[in-house]
Chain length 338, copies 4
């Protein structure tokens, strides 16, 4: 069994992570912390955990956490994680960081899109991008994981076979993505009030969302060339779930190929990717509260449409983090997740 800690338990991703870890047969939850007004039991913070876990949540404290944990999850806001990572790694603690702080190979892209200077460049190169479907072998040997963003997980899994086999024109990719509200975290702002979002739907950060360069980085790596996608996120009036509808023009290499078959082969051994048959498409309802990514494909002569759905809090955040932990610790990859 592993002693696991969690810094940032009060956000939606942290709360979800705690739910998973509580049911994980190989995890002892050793330490919980978050920026809070006063130390209190986790049941006082979240009544839903009453009778399920007796543990006090304290304010972040590197020594306390590193002395009691083998592995620590960071469910912190972007730009906050990098204040904890160096200390934890130094103490020999494994780290899975759910923020964006270590996702980018090119620190300038991070600094541009997140609007801050990166203050731990030393550890950037150590981080493995935690998308098991692409980087399982590296994750197995890693001590430090940069867990992918929610939109990137849905989008990259939706696009990976197309990019890897050069099946679409690289400048033609459009990702029309829709996310439930927990994707934004527990942000207290007028725009996230119930009466503002309920019975509403809108696009936001059109052409400027910080997940766009994360998607482009990974798709470019897969394609072996620079790819710039068009990414438009939208806000759905529901709690959980992302559905991305992806459009691209077929390349010459796609001629006479059955794209669904290519996807099926690509994801054949993946425990958490389900490719649908022709004329069958994913829906949010089938993936929420699971760690699955469902993918459906529509081809016509010139275009391919891929629809990809995940639970933003699970495969898009905390579920994937536990999947990464399972791989790092040599547990069955689906343990605690199905």
């Amino acid at each position: 069994m592993i002693n696991a800690g969690l810094i940032g338990v009060t956000g939606y991703a942290g709360e979800e992570l705690l739910s998973i870890l509580l049911k994980h047969p190989q995890v002892r939850i050793s330490d919980l912390s978050a920026k809070i007004d006063k130390e209190q039991s986790i049941a006082a913070l979240f009544p839903k955990f009453k009778n399920r876990l007796e543990l006090v949540c304290h304010n972040p404290d590197l020594n306390k956490t590193s002395s009691s944990c083998d592995l620590v999850f960071l469910a912190l806001p972007h730009t906050v994680s990098m204040n904890f990572v160096p200390g934890l790694l130094k103490k020999g603690v494994k780290v899975i960081d759910l923020s964006a702080d270590y996702r980018f190979s090119d620190v300038k892209v991070y600094e541009k899109f997140y609007g801050v200077k990166h203050n731990d460049r030393a550890n950037l190169a150590k981080a493995v991008y935690g998308l098991p479907e692409l980087y399982r072998i590296k994750i197995k040997k890693a001590d430090f994981i940069a867990n992918p963003g929610c939109y990137p997980t849905a989008s990259i899994l939706g696009l990976a076979p197309l990019a890897a086999f050069d099946l679409v024109e690289r400048d033609s990719i459009i990702i029309d993505a829709k996310s439930g509200v927990t994707g934004a975290g527990r942000k207290i702002a007028e725009g996230f009030l119930f009466s503002e979002i309920n019975e509403d739907f809108k696009a936001y950060k059109v052409g400027v969302h910080q997940h766009a360069p994360e998607i482009d980085q990974e798709i470019s790596k897969l394609a072996g060339k620079n790819v710039k996608t068009t990414f438009v996120p939208h806000l759905l009036p529901l709690n959980r779930g992302i559905l991305a509808t992806i459009y691209a023009n077929k390349s010459k290499k796609a001629k006479n190929k059955n794209i669904i078959d290519i996807y099926k082969k690509f994801y054949k051994s993946e425990p958490f990717v389900r490719v649908k048959e022709a004329a069958d498409y994913p829906r949010v309802k089938d993936v929420v509260f699971t760690n699955f990514c469902d993918i459906g494909i529509k081809e016509d002569e010139d275009k391919v449409i891929v629809i990809s759905a995940i639970d933003n809090l699970l495969k898009g955040a905390s579920g994937q983090a536990v999947q990464n932990m399972n791989i790092m610790c040599d547990y069955p990859e689906t343990m605690g997740l199905v």
Copy 2:
């Protein structure tokens, strides 16, 4: 035509009031203000009003408002209204105040439940409680209206015939009320975030809600004796609407009476109260976006159950305010409201 002003246009009640006034054939909207960072057009504040109204919303300014308006609506938070009322009344402007500041005959009740000292006791006695079904004649002659709260409107209309004719035991009244989220105003707090309210339901302020004494005041007046109801509000995951389920034990006077008939007679000439037939009950959907209060009644041998439904922003706030304006100005009572 009347020149009407509105202080506090940025809250939900203010926004709704503006929507109604825009369609009212006898109203010229002369002045809009609210506590805002910088003066801007109403279309900039609310894109939905673009192409419908060209007017700048300024910060509250008593002189500006009183010089351009015959009548002013105050859609301000409780305890803020009383800073504007004396000045407006002094200038001869008619005032309809949607806050609770002038609803109580007994200022001590107000001070206890709203937690502040009242600083305009002088005008308390001038205020007419703006529930047309009970006080139409007084409203007709009034210059200053204290517009009722949303829960009180639904509850008092639901109980009035029972109280007026002494049909139930006075200590047996239970009001189990459920409200949509706009009832709380545009309050930026964690508890009102979409992901907190969506797919949730809960009671709140059990036994301590500030609308309870307002209900008791009016029911006691109707009954001619002190009545203390049991009032429990709940928060519904929807934008608009209140439904109150009211329980009471029949008194001796109710024996051999048909209570539905009594309600029908009581509300016979009321344009905005609809009493349902036996075995037919109100639903929120039938009253939202209208100024109606729908009432359904279930009798058994000992008990009577009354279900009362309104739109909290219309009959429970802004619609009723315009109904009061119509009465004060001798316009047809339903003008601009159906």
Copy 3:
């Protein structure tokens, strides 16, 4: 004043149409019918209309309707309208048909997508496609209007300036559309149950939706050449509203043009189209319960993204039908609609 009738009042579009007509100062509602089990008052069918309209809803009866009405709205399912149109027109009654039966110039396209034979080809040529922004002059002189579909209204208005001025490559247009549930009508099927749709989101009829050829017909007319768009509709868990996110590659003609300015000029005199400034985008909340279409535009070097939002029951159905009636009857175009 005009005597207006409505066949098919029990669907969502019919119910909405009745709401509008009730407030329209130039309309006397003379006749209401629908396929119902037994004749009953409109208040019995829709409690929300109680105290607002006393009229019996009968089963469809051509003679009854045509003898009492100057103009009749048909809010009937596709393939049903064409059974009523010939008779009504013969009697000299003006008709606004909200179904798809007369929207297509090419009857074969209709027969393919709606899966039936058209049995009133004679009147097909008489029908004017009721999109005022494109066909106002024809509508003015028409006796018979084929009211556009909801997705087509949002999509065509979003694309019209691009198509008319040849600003995008004709094979590059992608319409990723999202609609509230009333768009499907009051269809009693498992897929439309609350628990199936709430907290879900999905694409449907991918590449085979019957509104695609309607959009293509109108965009092709505007462009003066055959255009085939890629159209993917999605189902939103909300009652009302459509938001279409439209992507296209710029053509050479778009170089050095300010597309927002072109849209502003194109829609300058339109009472119901609002073009947004750069970096400002429509949201469903701003258009529901209004007849407006809000349009926002994002340009980059090669692509243009247009976001278009309407209320599917108003500008997408019943509101537009009344707008057409206003034009046909020489009433102010916005009468009863703002």
Copy 4:
């Protein structure tokens, strides 16, 4: 390990039961059936189970089911279960019936409220009412469980200490209950369409709901005398969850007692009942997706208000069924449920 079967997997309770059983470490799912058009894999019926379970769902077949199962869950509509129970029991299969068919000691009450003749009176006496908090010892020895209804579970757990210790006046109990939509099952009817329920709230079956006599039966047993409660259910626009607000007048025995303490003692050893501290109340969000019942209490001088919340599909149906299975099979009571 146990071989478990499930008849009626296609309803909401059946689907939920399957989800739980899939994660239960002591259960082998041996047989699935339901009334369906054609036999198909469970993944074809419910895409969310793809990659998680390979099993064909057949039409109900007593021989097939009884030959492969040690225990069978019946998630069937009321009045259908009693056609399967006798055959299963005869073959020595243990049965947990989620319908109401065997919940009533007095068959006449059942026949009155469910409107049918009971055709298996022989087995009525064998059934144990499966509320572990009241009947754990009997359940341990039982072969046949009548699993309680959802409203009754929330209401009885909320009232049990008051009834058992005679703390309230028996004719004063009012249960104002609110349920999410899955409580009604996957019923295809206009009233359950998304657009009918979303943004609506209403009472239904006022004074005539079939769960009222079930509650009264159990409360009467606890009280040792006939109790008739007033029960009014309401429909919440959310998928899962019940919250019951219960009002009662204190009896003399309640004087000088601390009711919260009495509840805490009463439920001290219960793994799935959580009693809240004073001024803290349950919310649906804390119990959905769990098997907990949360209870909060408000006392004033004369009245007690109890608020009780459960997930209608878990503690109110399938979770409780598995809790019963755990007890019957000597597994830890919380196995597979936390």
